[in-house]
């Protein structure tokens, strides 16, 4: 057991901080502030991303056979943590999920065709998973891909396809054998979004963000759009999701909200801190954040030691997502009516409206990315070994 950081990681952390301070420019901040909920990366953000890729930081912790350097997962952890502290966006989006899957299951030609683009961000992805009748029960998906000569002909509808309006490609799960058991008749494809027959319709959410539904009508793609073997898709999807397991730095934003709340109370509402009950509620939030940190670090420790966490990633997900609601809710209650003000209430809104925004956008963290009920099933069954 060791709850501090070793020298090598301290040095690396310092390197990331210096890097970030160099790239943290007013023009990048302005670009990020103006992007709204759009997934579009502006020129400054792209410059940052390219610099991160140039340093080799995107893949440094991947195994060598996946084109990485095989470094300890703690490097990834430290890097993401520093990006979160600086409140700068990190990552190649869904590319960091799909890239390894293409690397592992694709042909040599597919690797050459897609991977440089994914790492360089010329190829951006959206995930074509959910459908009207396949949400938590993803394997029930109905979008059909039928072999037609050398091509595949795709028909169906995807739902909650975030970034479909900006992505260059969709990573698609489609049914290729309707007669097989549902997990054994799915295949994965990579399809350019400008392929004829694909149409995207926006769905606006209560968070103010946009997601989409995507329709596929006689979408014809060549045989090399298929990644992996026919009907191997469920296994590939599970493998791609595996790379998301580490659940790194996920709670960074919550820590910032707490810090801003403390700063606001100290500066604008100091009388609140005289109240025992208020101090007590703030400390309870701090404890919840401590637990979040503990769960995330425990999970990362298991990953870094080379083992596969059975339940710790799910614990982190459940805790962090429920805390997102809880922290915004308690903070709004503590502040009273000003807690409800949005960022448009110029000059009056605490934390620039972040509290009401966080409250409004908290539900998706709980039902999305594997609903918390399912996560608790995973903790109980895969982690604790309880029977089905």
């Amino acid at each position: 057991m060791e709850f501090g950081w070793n020298k090598e990681l301290d040095v690396f952390r310092e390197e990331v901080r210096e890097f970030l301070s160099e790239f943290d420019t007013p023009s990048l901040r302005a670009e990020l502030a103006n992007r709204g909920e759009s997934a579009h990366a502006g020129p400054e953000q792209t410059r940052l991303r390219e610099a991160v890729e140039a340093r080799g930081w995107v893949r440094m912790c991947w195994p060598e056979e996946l084109g990485g350097e095989g470094k300890s997962q703690w490097f990834q952890f430290v890097m993401t943590e520093e990006f979160a502290k600086a409140e700068l966006p990190f990552g190649s989006g869904f590319g960091s999920m799909v890239g390894p899957a293409i690397h592992r299951f694709g042909t040599e030609a597919q690797r050459e065709k897609y991977l440089p683009g994914i790492w360089g961000n010329d190829i951006t992805l959206c995930l074509g998973y959910s459908e009207p009748n396949a949400g938590t029960d993803l394997a029930a998906l109905e979008t059909l891909a039928v072999k037609d000569g050398d091509d595949w002909l795709i028909n169906g509808q995807k739902l909650w396809t975030s970034a479909a309006d900006t992505a260059s490609h969709v990573w698609l799960a489609a049914r290729t054998d309707p007669d097989a058991p549902k997990h054994r008749g799915i295949s994965t494809f990579i399809v350019p979004m400008d392929t004829p027959g694909i149409s995207v319709r926006p769905i606006m959410t209560m968070s103010g963000g946009r997601t989409n539904e995507v329709f596929f009508e006689d979408v014809r793609v060549p045989s090399d759009a298929l990644v992996g073997e026919v009907n191997q898709g469920w296994y590939i999807i599970a493998n791609a999701l595996d790379h998301e397991r580490v659940w790194i730095g996920a709670g960074g934003g919550l820590r910032h909200i707490f810090d801003r709340l403390m700063a606001h109370v100290r500066e604008k509402r100091p009388a609140l801190l005289e109240d025992d009950a208020v101090r007590r509620r703030l400390v309870e939030l701090e404890l919840d954040l401590d637990v979040m940190e503990g769960l995330v670090l425990t999970n990362a420790s298991i990953v870094a030691s080379g083992d596969t966490p059975t339940m710790e990633a799910s614990m982190s997900k459940v805790w962090t997502s429920e805390l997102r609601y809880h922290i915004s809710n308690v903070a709004m209650d503590l502040l009273g009516r000003e807690g409800a003000l949005t960022e448009e209430a110029n000059g009056f809104s605490p934390l620039d409206g972040e509290l009401e925004r966080t409250y409004r956008s908290s539900p998706i963290q709980r039902f999305g990315g594997g609903a918390n009920e399912v996560q608790r099933d995973i903790i109980a069954r895969r982690g604790l070994g309880l029977p089905r």
Binding site: M262, L295, A300, S301, M311, W319, E373, L386
Partner: protein, 360 residues
């Protein structure tokens, strides 16, 4: 950063776990709870195996290990509901060795490692309203301490007292002149005493620094005891609901039961992280009262809530005296209050909220 046990720590844990499973049946605990006293046979084993020597300096015959190692042993002892003053003796002797009187340290630590000395802290408790705070005059200590764990069984007391208006720690021979011990019965049925000192010969063992370490280390290790009680109750519950059949299937296959177990496991893991981090930071010399108080607050809650939820999932069988679950809910609740309840610890954290720094 590594929250997993090292290979050595794993071996340490497993070897004690195996011994306890084979040699300390729960009926032994029942007997001790009924008749009082501590488990001398177990103490002798720990002494022989070198487990009493781990965190102490080699210059005093110790193993130069860490408090973390002692915490790992303590968790195992807790998970078997063992009745021995391991926490109390470890933190008392360490307070003297690391921060107290140098001359006394060698004698005391060697006595502990040799198995002949057991020392228990007799400290100011925020809930004790009666009795006179001990004072030392001319090497004689007079006063009362209300809640002294193993006060009637230990060979020595390490008493918080004032001398010329200054607080410090004083060593008293428990069987010596002027020491009266009255046993107090608790929900845990483990030894606790009300101690009165009337001109008891006292040797100065340390000042404020030693006292602060003793309070911090005791609280952090008690948090580990809380975690041990929660973990044991959780593990027993998972095993039980996995085989108890109702409606033709194990009740552990029902989601309502599974989700309770998932929440218990999450709560226990969170408390575990904070508690062991608190112990570790004491070893590093970077512990703060606030960090330790937060850990104990969480651990106290886990010891209470997880063990009580276990009873709800067990139903009737877990409610019986014959079954072993009640050891952990009773001991867990008692440990939740010892060394600062969740409420007391949250108050410490709330009163020092000015120390909260932005994430860096």
């Amino acid at each position: 950063m590594d929250t997993t046990l090292s290979e050595t720590q794993r071996l340490l844990r497993d070897s004690l776990r195996d011994y306890l499973r084979n040699e300390v049946p729960f009926d032994r605990i029942r007997e001790l709870e009924r008749e009082g006293g501590t488990d001398q046979a177990l103490w002798n084993y720990l002494q022989g195996a070198g487990f009493l020597a781990l965190p102490f300096s080699e210059s005093h015959g110790g193993e130069d290990g860490e408090l973390t190692d002692a915490a790992i042993l303590l968790e195992e002892l807790t998970r078997r509901a063992c009745v021995i003053p391991f926490l109390e003796t470890t933190v008392s002797a360490l307070a003297i060795e690391r921060h107290g009187d140098k001359g006394l340290a060698d004698e005391i630590v060697r006595g502990v490692i040799g198995g002949t000395t057991t020392i228990v802290p007799a400290l100011q408790d925020s809930t004790s309203g009666n009795g006179a705070s001990p004072r030392v005059v001319d090497g004689m200590l007079t006063g009362e301490r209300l809640f002294v764990d193993y006060g009637a069984e230990a060979s020595h007391h390490l008493v918080e007292a004032t001398e010329d208006g200054e607080a410090g720690l004083y060593l008293i021979e428990a069987s010596g002149e002027g020491v009266a011990k009255e046993s107090l019965s608790t929900i845990a049925r483990t030894p606790l005493a009300h101690c009165s000192y009337d001109k008891a010969p006292a040797r100065r063992a340390g000042g404020l620094e030693a006292l602060q370490f003793l309070n911090g280390a005791g609280r952090a290790l008690c948090a580990v005891q809380c975690v041990g009680n929660a973990q044991q109750a959780l593990d027993m519950t998972v095993e039980y609901v996995g085989m108890r059949v109702q409606f033709g299937r194990p009740i552990g296959s029902f989601q309502a039961v599974q989700h309770h177990c998932a929440n218990m496991a999450t709560q226990t893991l969170g408390a575990r992280f904070l508690s062991y981090r608190a112990v570790w930071s004491l070893d590093q010399g970077i512990a703060s009262d606030r960090l330790i108080a937060k850990a104990k607050a969480l651990a106290s809650r886990a010891a209470t809530e997880v063990t009580m939820q276990a009873h709800i999932l067990f139903g009737g069988i877990g409610y019986t005296e014959e079954y072993d679950l009640h050891f952990f809910s009773r001991h867990g609740k008692e440990r939740a209050l010892a060394w600062g309840s969740a409420d007391e610890c949250l108050r410490v954290a709330a009163d020092t909220i000015d120390e909260v720094q932005p994430w860096q």
